[in-house]
Amino acid sequence: MSAVIERARQLRKLIEQASAGLDDRTASEGYELLPRMKTDGSLIPAGHRINWHGKVLRARTALWANEENTPERAPELWEEVGYRQGIRVIPAAIAAENPFGKGEKGWWGEALYESLYDANVHTPGAWPEGWKRAEA
């Protein structure tokens, strides 16, 4: 193995270790920094975050890293963190203490929306008039 490849492998391990200390928003901006889901049979602790096709997912519970427990096969074991690419994911129910401000963007499913009002606590599904489609 060449020195460059070997160094890249060493640095990648450090990158993944360091990524554990990032907050969710920052981690979602640099999702490539997070480890990918492995299927090597190792134990994934609860709260462990992974890069799943550009989304940052967190293990809801401790689980084994195998094919049966991937987010695709067992979505109930994973939850998306509150951000995607540094932008908030709009929850099914927006808490009153954490509303969306006018002009603030949010992910609703795979689409990006922008709130048209301040203190917006309604989702694009519940109140389409309160949002418009946006670009990342």
């Binding site: 460059v4 490849i5 890249a8 492998r9 993944e16 997070l34 480890p35 890069n51």
Partner: protein, 107 residues
Amino acid sequence: MIGAIVKNDIVTGLLVINEEQIEEMQTALECEIVDAKPYGLIEGDLRTARGWTRNVGGEQVVLELQNGEEPDSYELAMERALAAEEQAAALKEYEEAAKILLGEEEA
């Protein structure tokens, strides 16, 4: 070296080749491979009883042995080709390293 692929006394192409590979390549391509450098052979040159010749304006001109190293000589061309190969290999290595750093390949 730069080898000239010769079939029926006509140069049909050029290739970069190590001397130890010549025999194997001759068998594989069913041709003769000669050093292109001394006469600066190119595709279409013809070997005759008078020596290597080239069609220039419809006339077969006998090629002279080349002396010295011209800026566009085969020696330099070979060096450039080998350097390009090394650069391509290094680039591939850096591409792989980038994939590892981005987590696209198992570290």
